[in-house]
Symmetry: C2
Subunit: 466 residues, 2 copies
């Protein structure tokens, strides 16, 4: 595993340069997040006008800190960043996380260049500038000024947009999406999306990498392709490439100053590298939710289990549209399924347990699906009925799925209904069973898994024959 970014993801000590005593200030929020989220290394506020901030001794300069400093988060005004970087270099800081904006993105290209040169001279790396920070939940590191209460999990989120990134951090908390890492890329003066992806490809706590991308730096296309091939050979990467329309590209260029480039070029690059391209943020995280908790499909045969005919039809339509192959059950399997439902149910696929279904019907049908050699993937649907409490059903699903943890079969759920259905889905998501508010979104997520499976098989075939 590459150790190059260890100081960024596993710092043993952090200085917050520009730490503030005033709630509302970025230098306050970052320090507070680091402390409150439970980081266990040393934390040093740096502020020449304070002796103590949030209960920690403050230092006038990073040079005054007694112990070694791995990471320095920089939240001082732009004109002072250069001076602070020099001091950090002298101190032996390994990585600068430069929150401060007002560099290349506002035309101040010269200052950014100087900053990079300074860092290089001292062997320091730079994340940013113009970012909201970095978080890595396995060591309880939240060095961002975003929400303080990130959920731990297996999804890494890399973002080239700050505002959207912070907003999505809050959204993931509400959506029960567990994250391993959040990395704000900003101007990518030094560390870029590719290097972070390569590092996370070897991170044992990351199962899937999601990237909000506006554009690569000119001339880095070949490196992107070579590196991302290595990454996707290890784990799935989902990218939302913003600025794919002509006008969107122009907006992106004015936003981050990155050259968006022709969308065709990106499409080709994603295809060559096995990157899964999402078209909306919802889609990206829908797919990531499935990858983060479910095994990769071992085959294509998918079964849909439902208590509502209509929702089964919608899922069937979506399956055809997304290239998800629905199993045609054998006579033997149909007979077994028939025993799990009322006489007027359907053991064909979609398997319709009918509106009369209670926990037991789902439990039995799910068990048959897990046990059957014909079934590779399971989509379970539920429409709120008066006779089946959704939270109770969710508990049943968790219990059965737990029994078949090693089955190698992905299970994706969709439930439709009101508040209690929402609670039931949260329960499922907390127990690592991906649940979606519409059948189409569950099917689309499985489809992404199947596409990634095909890509992996293809490259495995290539490796075998070469």
């Amino acid at each position: 595993m590459s150790r190059s970014l260890d100081a960024l993801f596993r710092p043993r000590s952090i200085a917050v340069i520009g730490a503030s005593r005033h709630p509302g200030k970025i230098g306050y929020t970052i320090l507070k997040n680091i402390i409150d989220y439970g980081y266990r290394g040393r934390v040093y506020p740096v502020n020449p006008k304070a002796t103590e901030i949030l209960g920690l001794k403050a230092y006038p300069s990073v040079l005054d800190i007694p112990g070694p400093v791995d990471m320095a988060v920089v939240a001082v005004p732009a004109p002072i960043v250069q001076k602070v970087a020099e001091e950090a270099g002298k101190k032996g800081v390994k990585v600068l996380v430069v929150i401060t904006s007002g560099f290349a993105e506002t035309g101040n290209v010269e200052a950014e260049k100087r900053l990079v040169e300074t860092a290089r001279r001292y062997g320091m790396r730079i994340l940013g500038p113009n970012i909201f920070g970095v978080a890595y939940t396995p060591i309880r590191l939240n060095a961002t000024f975003g929400p303080g209460n990130l959920r731990e999990g297996n999804i890494a989120f890399i973002t080239q947009s700050g505002a959207l990134g912070i907003a999505l951090m809050g959204w993931t908390v509400m959506e029960e999406l567990g994250l391993s890492a959040v990395v704000s890329m900003g101007n990518m003066a030094d560390i870029d999306v590719v290097e972070v992806s390569e590092y996370l490809a070897d991170d044992p706590h990351t199962r899937v990498i999601t990237i909000y991308l506006e554009g690569l730096k000119p001339g880095t296309g070949r490196r992107f392709i070579e590196a991302m091939r290595r990454v996707t050979a290890k784990k799935p990467v989902i990218v939302i490439k913003a600025g794919r329309s002509r006008r969107g590209a122009a907006a992106a260029a004015s936003h981050t100053g990155s050259l968006a480039g022709s969308d065709n070029v990106y499409s080709a690059a994603f295809k060559q590298t096995g990157i899964l391209r999402a078209y909306t943020v919802e889609e990206m995280f829908d797919w990531a939710r499935a990858f983060a908790s479910q095994p990769l499909p071992r085959g294509e045969n998918t079964i849909i289990i439902t208590n509502g005919g209509g929702v089964g039809v919608l899922a069937t339509d979506a399956a055809e549209e997304h290239g998800v192959k629905l199993l045609t059950p054998s006579k033997e399997l149909r007979d077994k399924l028939s025993q799990t439902m009322p006489w007027f149910g359907s053991p064909r696929n979609p398997v319709d347990l009918t509106g009369q279904a209670v926990e037991e019907n789902y439990e039995k049908a799910l068990t048959v699906a897990f046990e059957s050699g014909e079934v590779d993937n399971i989509i379970l649907l539920y429409c709120r009925t008066a006779i089946l409490d959704p939270v109770s059903l969710a508990e049943t699903i968790v219990e059965v799925a737990g029994r078949y943890e090693d089955s190698g079969k992905p299970l994706l759920v969709s439930m439709i209904g009101g508040e209690d259905v929402y609670r039931a889905m949260n329960l499922l998501n907390r127990h690592s069973i991906p649940a979606y508010p519409s059948p189409e979104r569950a099917v689309a997520a499985l489809s992404a898994m199947l596409r990634y499976r095909s890509y992996r098989e293809k490259i495995a075939g290539r490796a075998a024959t070469s």
Copy 2:
């Protein structure tokens, strides 16, 4: 306005035949919903084994009821339905809402035919059988066994699927979607989707009609096209046609027994009639949310106002994809917009107020957009930031939008973030400003409005030249 279905939507009195004293029974839930939701007409429980149910005097037979009965909800076992229908006919009931299942959908075609003949003989209409009921919120009528707490609003929802329909009723409550009517169609032995749509086309409380459709009865295609043309000339109709895939069609056929027919035929019919076709349930209600509260666009020029560059780019991409034309603001408009933002913002479209934006910036920019003759439609985006509380922003938006209620400009909002953003969006939706959890969904909803506008212009042109 057609009065043919007045007894279904505006009954002056209702008998619940098969009313039950036992919670959990369908005949209990329906009666309870009718009472609790606040229906103001007479309600008569009918049950030969009870003298009083839920505080109301019960009658052994509908024939024993002293006053006239407009609607009879039938929730007795299938073998008794025929007898009950005869009695209702004799009583002079105008419409039978037959909840009971076990007719054509389970092969019992003969019993259904007999039921229809009986009804015809007495001049009664039938909704169903095999349905969950009917609701019409303007008179506080909830004669369903679905959720009791429907939100009042302007969206009519017609569904051929029972389980999905009930589940979606609950979902609309949570999603702050206000409904005028919910109609469960079931087997459509008599009253069908077309007749209900025509009635609701003239309903002053309905602004948009949504339909979950699995299939029309054979031979009703021409009537569908002619009637729906009249409906869409009055108000937008959004249809989700389930069973559009080969396998989905087969599932639909086994589910409701309707002939799904080739999807191409439906596509052509929808196009000819100006029906907006949604591909997911989320989409259907996303669009309906906009139609229900916003004026129809008077032109195509759309402006995007945002505090996040990234989310602005995503919206721009979506606009190009969905054919939403983004305005290129004049120098004069750019100058005005510039005064609403920090110096490093962008007055181009998307209008970027930057992450520094507070209520005042949004208020000013929104006012400029409402006042400008160049702007026809407004999409407002917000990414959660530490300095701008989403609920406070929502209140600002409600206030400004209220001032420009008569501007004729649709305003659609998208907000990204955690719990408080969710609360802010609920507040907006309650105040009739459609709010969506992703920018793409807001853009797609506006796109549906623009497509409907084009259709209306086209038919108006045709009418003018013919």
